[in-house]
Amino acid sequence: MENIIAKSPEHISREELIALQKLENQKAKIKRRSETGILIGANVVMAILILLPLLYAISIAFMPSSELFTTAMNLIPQHPTLENFHQALVKVPLVRFVINSFVVAACITFGQIISCSLAAFSFSFLEFKGKNILFMIVMATMMIPGEATIISNYLTVSGWKWLDSYQVLIVPYLTSAMGIFLFRQFYMSFPISLYESAKIDGCSNIRFIFRILLPLTKSAIGAMAVYTFINAWNMYMWPLLVTGSNELRTVQIGIGMLDSVDSQSITLMIAGVVMIILPSISIFIVGQKQLIRGMFSGAVKG
């Protein structure tokens, strides 16, 4: 091959050249195709590995429990059934748990967006004494792990007789340092003249926030909403400590009621798990683009 290519233009005939080109074009095409093929193949393997637990869970959720208990390979249910889902709903008040989780997660998300955007507004557009110190303090809170405070928090809320209530699940999470930081990053990218011209037009601060700032930061709000909702939905340790009754259990705790040694209920349990994973996954898939645009494009440079 090499010596043909190394021939000078005068020493190679037209036909030879055309044949050579055809051959090489073919080769290049095959090479490109096989490269894409290998890439896709590697991705398929990786995706199966990552998704295996989920796929397996879905498969079991549709399996009659008799089918699960074999030593043979049973990746796909032979006689798919919806019975597990039905039984799971009958056995524990799953709908109630879902509603609880939904209310809690929605309130937390809404509350965080409001409190964080107000604080971020103040930190980025207003001047006041101690602003920088206060902001540093807010940032420092990110360093305190939840475990360092959870015991005292438990004692506080139980002292207030707040155990087993919605507010105990919601109130402690009504703000987040990360949210304030994220919104502030966005607001800082706006020119201060945006605020000043609104002021000159006689726009009050509150009006400015709700009419101008929030609509302009839709992508940050979207990212924040997806992230916060999923985290609130998946919250485990705090609800475990502060709720005891069926009326107020969230999904993550409630689903534990299906988790028993009773081997017959494994398929029920997994069906329940699938049902409670579904909302968070759906929100994630719908909001993924928002999340990436709002959170990761800025986060990298920061």
Binding site: I5, P9, I12, L17, L20
Partner: protein, 373 residues
Amino acid sequence: MASVSLVNICKSYNNGFQAVKNFNLKVEEGEFLILVGPSGCGKSTTLRMIAGLDEISDGELWIKDRLVNFLKPQERNLSMVFQNYALYPHMTVYQNMAFGLKVHGIDKDEIDKRVKHAAEILEISHLLDRRPNALSGGQKQRVAIGSVIVRQADLLLMDEPLSNLDAKLRSQMRVELAKLHQKLGATIIYVTHDQVEAMTLGTRIVVMKDGEIQQADKPAELYRNPVNQFVAGFIGSPTMNFIETIVYRVGNELQLKFGNQYIQVKGLLAKRLLNMDYEGRELTVGIRPEDFHLEGEEGTDIEMEIDVREMLGAEILIHGESEKTPISAKLPPESKVRAGERVKLYADIAELKLFDAETGVNIFYAQNGNGEA
């Protein structure tokens, strides 16, 4: 040093768009060849095909008697300066310049020698320990060029290397690039959209438009003898004035009429136009701003109203309109003209360019040109 031949090079995309059409060119050893044209004309694509970064859809690319269509960039023994310099952000200047040598397995002492030598030539020896982020635009530019010099490759490709610099630095770097070419004697293929850069740097210039070569010639020749209206308008600053006229015959003379005015053409030129059957047809007259004078022969004058007068020190530029055609002229600095005035401008008939109004072709290109198109 290497010669490069492009034979019928084409670049087409899946959506059917043809970025480069039938590009034929031979670049001689040691040439400083400029590819110039408006954005989207295919000049960068051509360069990237030579580099091996974009695939060649059709045609042959020869470098130094090797058909390289199917070789990877690293196998083509060339080096390239990118528009944004493409410096490795995590490496020091020294490491940046050494990278290309290191991956070629050249030994450490040799690398050290070459890098230090190149740094000396480019006067960046004191920057060798810095990282790209700590450099100014001009310094980054030098590092990028330094990385190319140390490779001692046969062929240097440069993709708009000066476009990110401010005007002053650009003209300074232009001079240095020209010097560098003389010192290295390497073959350089250089892409730019800036005709001033093209004119000052190139030993030969290829003007491109819509993926096709319009003209490939020496700078002076391009300026003096453009093949068509596009090239004439692209080369030169301020751009050539174009006046759309109709040819009338008055006795032995011709009048190139536009609105209520005309430019008179006599003698040999008139005869040639008559021979070519241009009587009664449309001609676009091209006059460079520097070919207008305040005095001259009767009949070669046009009247214009001055809208703007720019004093540039060594010359005065005036811009205005004549019969709704925009006109610019370059006058000596002592000229007493003011904005709002009407003036008579005399065109230098010898420097007139005449373009067929339909095709845009310079109708005397073949006759008086000696270019090697």
